[in-house]
């Protein structure tokens, strides 16, 4: 029995990022979780296994991450808001079915608590090494949405946002967090249920017999019928026309479909993209950061200002679609951009592309410790000297 009265734990809590993520999912109306244990995302599964039963939802521990995401796609098509949570190795296993979810326009949320890679890497240590995989991990051309939380509060807030975006654009949305944020404990405020903005799926208004499952509205997103509602439609991972019929030879259908799948994100990018601008108005040097390094960056920018360096921060909340315009604007104004990342240089490439001639400095960090504020200040000092 679905019991929504228990879904939102209104109040002030001291929680880890993983737990706040689970609570965010429940507050967003998640009723299905399919997952497989993996460090450092396991706590999300553990929380969901307890809480989903309380609210009358379904928790199932699948045999692997391939099965997890397949079950999540199925649950979404059966009408439930659904999610999975994993880390690098499991995220790799999910890639083929992320493509299926893109192709069949399945709303769902994938949480990736990033650890050190490649391969098994450093399971208990942080990383931001799956940024490009989140964008390009499945084969074929597509666009996807990924958000990067930088606090435990954002693990709650952005998980809700992920569900809202997934339902709005019929696309898999990735919460791309790092191990530090996932395992970090901080204060979280959970508002009353009525103050939480929860987006529901756009349903078809056409009579069942006339319904075309992949015929888009003006926003390029087709209304979504679910199994059991009488529409009796077909969905496939094959290239398909608006009726859902496979079309495996027509270049026209292939072109139209692939372009629309990308354009429904690209053309709505302005509405999707979120970032935080801190002290950028008169800045000479900017830090562009996301996730855990943005916390050190914030500290560094405040300290640098005290030392007379005109520093500012652009904290990216949306990673994909990449906030091209926002980064370009910052680049036009400053002398240099510092990009601290817990990888060997991933999002910095996108920053470089948007920054054009403005110098971009990568501060790479691998392993246990994130960037210290002092390292970022030093990089800024060098950059504007």
């Amino acid at each position: 029995m679905v019991d929504e009265s228990r879904a939102v734990l209104t109040g002030t809590h001291f929680m880890s990022g993983d737990l706040a993520c689970a609570e965010g999912a429940l507050a967003a109306g998640c009723q299905f979780f399919g997952g497989y244990p993996i460090t450092p995302a396991t706590e999300i599964s553990e929380r969901m296994s307890r809480r989903l039963v309380e609210v009358g939802g379904v928790f199932v521990q699948m045999e692997d991450e391939i099965g997890s995401i397949a079950a999540v796609i199925g649950a979404s098509y059966a009408g439930k808001k659904a999610m999975t949570a994993t880390s690098g190795p499991g995220f790799s296993l999910m890639q083929e079915n992320i493509g299926l979810a893109v192709m069949t326009e399945t709303p769902l949320v994938i949480v990736n608590i990033m650890r050190g890679g490649p391969s098994t890497g450093q399971p208990t240590m942080p990383g931001q090494q799956d940024v490009m995989q989140a964008r390009w991990g499945s084969h074929g051309d597509y666009e996807i949405i990924a958000l990067a939380p930088s606090s435990v509060q954002e693990m709650f807030n952005l998980t809700i946002e992920c569900f809202n975006l997934a339902e709005t654009y019929r696309v898999p949305v990735i919460l791309l967090a790092d191990e530090i944020i996932g395992h970090m404990w901080e204060r979280v405020k959970i508002p009353p249920a009525e103050e939480i903005n929860v987006v529901s799926r756009k349903k078809p208004k056409t009579p069942t017999a006339e319904y075309q499952p992949f015929k888009p509205d003006k926003d390029l997103v087709p209304p979504m019928a679910c199994f059991g509602e009488g529409y009796r439609f077909h969905a496939t991972g094959l290239t398909h026309d608006e009726k859902g019929a496979p079309e495996t030879v027509s270049a026209e259908v292939q072109t139209e479909l692939v372009k629309r799948l990308a354009d429904k994100i690209r053309k709505n990018a302005e509405k999707i993209v979120k970032a935080q601008r801190v002290m950028l108005e008169d800045a000479d040097v900017a830090v562009i950061a996301y996730g855990i390094p943005s916390r050190a960056a914030l500290s560094a920018v405040r300290e640098a200002r005290k030392k007379g360096i005109k520093a500012g921060l652009l904290r990216l909340v949306t990673i994909w679609p990449f906030p091209q315009e926002l980064v370009s604007d910052v680049a036009k104004q400053v002398k240099a951009i510092v990009v601290p990342e817990m990888n060997y240089g991933q999002l910095v490439r996108e920053v470089e592309r948007a920054a054009k001639t403005t110098p971009v400095i990568l501060l790479s960090k691998l392993g246990e410790e994130p960037h210290r504020p002092s390292e970022i200040i030093e990089a800024m000092r060098r950059a504007v000297k």
């Binding site: 208990t124 530090i180 395992h183 404990w185 901080e186 204060r187 050190a296 994130p370």
Partner: protein, 187 residues
Amino acid sequence: MRMEIRLAGFGGQGIIRSGLILSMAACIYSDKNAVQTQSYGPESRGGSCKSEVVISEGDIDFPKVDDPDIVMLMSQEAYHKYVNTAKKNGTVLVDPHMVQDRNDPPNLKIYDVPATKIAKDIGKVIVANVVMLGALTAITKIVTPEALKNAVLRNIPKGSEDLNTAAFEQGYAYGSELVRKQGKTEP
């Protein structure tokens, strides 16, 4: 004011739980902000283990410990690795029974708290971390004893309240005694 605390030992000693208790005492039972982060290896028991807590009246931007005001060390490995990370004139608590090979650096206020032995005498080694937290509260006054006790009670299994309260009290008494002998250290 921002205070940084580093707690280190090995897996199974309740190091990460200690960090949670301390940060909860600050965040839930005092009117402060707190962040706890942690670092551990693949072992559930025996591997090296570290928990870091930042406590502040204001917002906490950088959540990690950079230059710790307080360091609590419960294993030989932790001692070697972290005793020198404490800031100048910082406070260091060491469990002397777990750390025999000592080379205490100067310019630190070092307090020996035999938490593991005290815990054993009470009945269970497993509460050594709570003994240590009791001493830490008495020595550093970073949170009130009431706040810490409340946080302890919230973080332990039902039925172990008496044991943990005793552990806290004894640790707190031991810490107070040390302060009387060695001089206190206000945050």
